[in-house]
């Protein structure tokens, strides 16, 4: 990409009739020192507090480091142990279920909400403002109220279900492994839905009205317009939102930590909470680092796909 812009500069300079070599060093030489000076603070911050910790984490994962001890090289032992451990395999499965369920719910309901918000005229700001609220309230604090709402004895959800005679006994939301997974997915959906809805809405606004008018005059009904215009044109936005959310859903810590701490019987542990438990609470930093590193290949895959999407979008412009 840089090569192309460089050639572009050369072509421009040549077209102006200047001597290319001098002008080229001029273009590069004048701005380079100032660019590096401006970037230096951010660069060194990220070098020392992101890149270095990452390398450190690789080293930890290959050692038997414990809190306060440097540890020795153990090769791939940590990873081997993890893959053989039932709890870790359960964590892998939980992460998959949690991410797939939450992403699915957020995509479907986010799309529905965006389509509704798009057509709403009156009270537009009020409704958008209300719907966005869960996303900006501190998650650790809002999860507390969900915990209270599903509290075994005083659950407002159970109270309502009993009052409506849907059930006649309390439902054990958090003590039951499957219901606990349902609950953490529900809370994650509650928090993440606004992000999906608002971003998809921005995508909807960008679709030219003429396309709908043309389709309508060709006799396309609402469903046909959705499948043949809205969905295909939303694809890039949807892809970015889903990929972006995939990382942060998979890496979620707050909701699970506050609601279930990974229980009951490890059935809601995700990489982050399990790594927290092993790495900090039991002090096995090496093992803990290995757990969180499982996030990395997935992260890399998503970054790669996103970059390709971004590049594609810019070449179309």
């Amino acid at each position: 990409m840089r090569l192309r812009t460089l050639n572009g500069e050369v072509a421009k300079v040549a077209a102006r009739g200047d001597a290319p070599p001098r002008a080229l060093t001029d273009v590069l030489g004048r701005d380079t020192p100032i660019a590096y000076t401006f970037i230096a603070p951010a660069f060194f911050l990220l070098l020392f507090l992101v890149a270095y910790p990452f390398v450190l984490s690789l080293w930890f994962s290959l050692s038997d480091a414990r809190v306060g001890e440097t540890g020795h090289w153990v090769g791939l032992d940590n990873f081997r142990k993890l893959l053989g451990s039932d709890t870790f395999r359960q964590t892998l499965q939980n992460s998959l279920v949690f991410t797939a369920a939450a992403l699915g719910a957020k995509t479907i309901f986010g799309m529905a909400l965006a389509l509704l918000l798009f057509r709403i005229g009156r009270f537009k700001r009020l409704i958008r403002g209300a719907v966005l609220l869960p996303f900006i309230v501190p998650t650790a604090l809002s999860t507390l109220v969900w915990w209270w709402m599903f509290e075994p004895l005083y659950s407002v959800v159970n109270w309502t279900l009993k009052a409506l005679h849907v059930v006649n006994r309390d439902i054990p939301w958090l003590p039951d492994p499957y219901l606990a997974m349902f609950t953490v997915v529900l809370v994650n959906t509650w928090r993440g839905l606004p992000f999906f809805a608002i971003t998809i809405l921005a995508g909807l606004v960008a679709i030219p009205k003429e396309m709908y008018e043309a389709a309508e005059s060709d006799g396309a009904g609402p469903a046909a317009r959705f499948w043949h215009i809205t969905l295909p044109l939303l694809k890039p936005v949807l892809a970015v939102v889903i990929l972006f959310s995939a990382i942060f859903t998979l890496a979620d810590f707050n909701i699970v930590y506050v609601l279930t701490k990974g229980g009951p019987i490890n059935m809601t542990h995700l990489f982050a909470t399990y790594s927290f438990q092993i790495g900090l609470q039991s002090g096995q930093i090496g093992q803990g680092a290995a757990i969180s590193l499982f996030l990395f290949p997935i992260l890399l895959m998503i970054v790669f796909t996103q970059l390709r999407l971004v590049r594609k979008a810019t070449t179309y412009e």
């Binding site: 951010a42 869960p134 604090l141 809002s142 709402m149 890496a251």
Partner: protein, 281 residues
């Protein structure tokens, strides 16, 4: 179709379907407020209707929070950390975004990609090694540990957002200034920044919100009770063993959310634009 009939159709096809979404979004927050204002006798009585306050409002939970816990210290800590991290991140973000948006220099594209990758790194990937780094730097159990580490996820976000914003400002006004003898730093401060104020406000709001809401680093790096931030303090100090002070917890959650909600009410449009810019651009 008469306008009246169209209005009715709108009620059925738009406002009624959107109502469950609004209810789903707001009910937990409403319930948080209601619980924080209820007397304990009513709170723990399963025969009363839980949706509203039937036996009088009490501010007892708030008073208890104020007098029996370090609540206001946590509040102040959160404020200090969020302001510090925001100032650092917006400053570094502006500096890094400018050359990435405007200048051509070797390594520029690679740095842009690196910023993008760090933007997507979740805090839960690096908290273990960062604990070691923070301890080695002598920052463990001090607010500085958070002021220094929050920029690791805020700087990439601010840079990314401002880069997009700077690109929308026409180059010509800067070129004029440079012809008049301004250097790059002067053009950035005197010409570009005044035009880009909305972008900077947006970056600052998001940086502040993300810092205020942060939980994992604050939980791991700082353990003395008086140095905790809002989110961690309410969670870990109000739950003792198996005894939950639900009224107090909800009161803490309410006040802890309040600064962000106030900022949000005043700057709704900035939040919306920042949210979509972060993902779409």
């Amino acid at each position: 179709m008469s306008s009246r009939r169209r209005a009715w159709r709108g009620v059925f096809t738009l406002y009624m379907p959107v109502a469950p979404f609004v209810f789903f979004a707001l009910f937990p927050l409403y319930f948080m407020a209601v619980t924080s204002l209820k007397k304990n006798a009513e709170l723990y009585d399963t025969t009363t209707v839980p949706f509203w306050i039937g036996r009088g409002v009490t501010f007892g939970h708030y008073q208890l929070l104020s007098s029996d816990t370090l609540f206001w210290s946590w509040f102040l800590n959160s404020l200090l950390v969020s302001l510090g991290a925001t100032v650092i991140s917006v400053a570094l973000g502006i500096l890094a975004a400018y050359p990435l948006a405007r200048l051509k220099f070797p390594g520029g594209d690679s740095f842009g990609v690196a910023i993008f990758i760090t933007y997507l790194v979740p805090p839960s990937l690096l908290f273990l090694p960062l604990t070691t780094v923070v301890t080695k730097l002598g920052l463990a159990d001090s607010l500085w540990s958070l002021i220094v580490t929050y920029p690791t996820f805020l700087v990439p976000f601010c840079t990314w957002l401002l880069m997009g914003y700077f690109r929308t400002v026409p180059k010509e006004i800067e070129e004029c200034a440079m012809l008049d003898g301004c250097n790059r730093a002067q053009t950035l401060i005197r010409i570009l920044l005044p035009v880009a104020v909305p972008g900077v406000i947006c970056a600052a709001l998001f940086a502040f919100t993300l810092s205020w809401n942060e939980f994992l680093y604050a939980l791991v790096f700082v353990s003395p009770a008086e140095l905790k931030t809002m989110t961690v303090g309410v969670y870990s100090e109000l739950i003792r063993g198996d005894i939950y002070y639900w009224g107090g917890l909800m009161a803490g959650a309410c006040i802890g959310s309040l600064p962000i909600v106030i900022a949000y009410v005043f700057f709704l449009d900035y939040y919306v634009s920042g949210l979509t810019a972060g993902a779409v651009k």
